[in-house]
């Protein structure tokens, strides 16, 4: 990467970092471009040099947020072990990630708000969840073929697992004190696994 491209990347990161903070705190609409300017340490002109509008920044953030999330998926793909072990790895990674992600969670929900209104957002987020679902479904299929799991529908089960974590995350976001992630990290998974695990006969 040329020094020039490096500078550009750095500036764009500066701006997205600032935007992430500001948008998370204030929401897309209450956030002022001047707030992002101040937070980024750049000038307004510099901001508009790299992103042509507020909306362009929001869309660039969308990419970054869900790209970051994708990393958990990668962990899963590369993992070895039984299906159950992989699901536990997923669970742990997801929970770790969620905690790290907490300050920016309202940002994520704001993006979700846009799903019905903006094609790009819709497609990006759908792609993210579909990828995820497929990976988990693959693991479950593995579990079925190795007789770890009963013959469940892999797709539906994958949706249930992701849904379970998304839902608990949502509830944790709303009422963190009411939910103890330390305990919940594996408990929900245990319940589901109990449900799909092959019963000895």
């Amino acid at each position: 990467m040329s020094p020039k491209e490096e500078l550009e990347q750095e500036r764009r990161q500066q701006i997205l970092d600032a935007a992430e903070t500001v948008f998370s705190e204030q929401g897309f609409n209450d956030a002022r471009m001047d707030d992002i300017v101040a937070e980024s340490g750049l000038s307004k002109g510099a901001l508009y040099w790299y992103y042509k509008s507020k909306d362009a920044i929001i869309m660039a953030l969308l990419d970054r947020v869900f790209l970051q999330e994708m990393r958990i998926a990668e962990v899963l793909i590369d993992a070895d072990g039984t299906a159950e072990e992989k699901l536990r790895i997923f669970s742990r990674a997801a929970v770790a990630d969620i905690r790290h992600f907490k300050p920016f969670m309202s940002l994520a929900y704001e993006f979700i708000t846009l799903v019905t209104r903006r094609k790009e957002v819709r497609e990006k987020i759908r792609g993210y969840y579909r990828t995820y679902t497929q990976i988990l479904a693959g693991i479950i299929e593995q579990g079925i073929s190795t007789d770890e799991f009963a013959t469940v529908d892999p797709h539906k089960t994958a949706l249930a697992i992701i849904g379970l974590y998304e839902g608990i995350t949502l509830m944790w976001f709303i009422d963190p004190e009411n939910i103890d992630w330390d305990e919940l990290t594996e408990a929900p998974l245990d319940m589901l696994l109990d449900g799909i695990r092959k019963k000895e006969s």
Copy 2:
């Protein structure tokens, strides 16, 4: 109720109906007061007569949206039957409600966005979920005491059930075609129930 009060109630409903539609379609910020005025068929002056600000309408909507939701909870409280039967009633009611609620779902997520930024929203939504959790926990306790269920933690299990439904709802909102509620209505519950059901020994 006097005729005057009746008119007032009617007008307020008109406004909230319009606001619900407009906010759902455009979001709190892109929605214009003039849009609500047009949708409601009232005049701008009338709007401001009944609600003193845009924010007041949003807060009134918050009440209405989550009050509506509360009705499912009431169904549960009054129901008879085994714990499992009650959970199935809950499941069916929740799914039915979600479907009806779909056009306004982005509204709900926009409220969630406000959880970290607005005390009233936070408290209202927390109250809603806490109530819900307690009711479900009660049912699970009943199930444990009647030996339907294994000795699980009622609170955690309740959270898991609600989370499961909230999460699947979220995913259905994002990608309706990828999720078949008809099948999912009871499947997720089955999995969880399998997990907590008392094993014959």
Copy 3:
């Protein structure tokens, strides 16, 4: 006209009057909306209530400016007399009008600037000159048929007459002291008339 419509007309006139002054003094681009606001005595909101943009005001002015000019043409249509008498009436009306119009002349040239860039402007101004040319051509035809004038091309002659006045106006705008309209009022016309008048044989 209802009182409401009357108010609207009055407001629009107020705005266009102000815009005419401000645009003439400063040009379309240097003129600030706030200048028009100040000049009009209205508020910025009121301005935008009646015209949705600066450009809308400019286009409304275009209408008004060239509609005003059209009145001279009407004088001609209704006039009686020989062709030459009518042309003299035209001459006098045109000169009188030009003098009145002087402060707003740079406005007219600014519109002309837009002829190649904006369809609406092009069409409006073309229509104006075509109408004018036709009226004059009609008078010249009359002069030919009554043997006042030699057998000239009515269309070309009309263009020459209008062109003559437009050109002298342009030069007067550029260098008023160099041109004495009092003398020039009829002199150019005399020259042209001398050229087309039927020579006694």
Copy 4:
């Protein structure tokens, strides 16, 4: 001229060529310095190295545009022949020039727009027309003294001739299809000449 000065001259021409094109297409205000940069093939820094501001470019263009025009006048001064012959030379030169100049005509009108607002523009353009008028007046005086023309006012007649051509040019700019320069090249002049030509007695 040193190689260094040559380069400077070349660069300045590049810039003015680009500016002429861009300004003609977009107008002084809508044209962006970046457009001129792109059109010129230079860098922004280079542009500002040779011209210290947008306005400086506009003023340099003013010089160039009206200097170019001055060449027609030179043709006249050097010409031999009767007054009428000279006027025909003028006519042909003017028409030829106008056609060449067409793409940049809106530029000329934009300068005229500035006559009332900018001293330098006013003086430059006035000087141009005064020079022109004087040359033509001289020719007409010649024509009077040689008995070609009747005893007309040379100044007024010169104004009329220039005005006639300026006016027809304006109308041609506005509505090229409505005006056939091929025919109009000499026709207007004929009319005027008919008017001022010494009548045989």
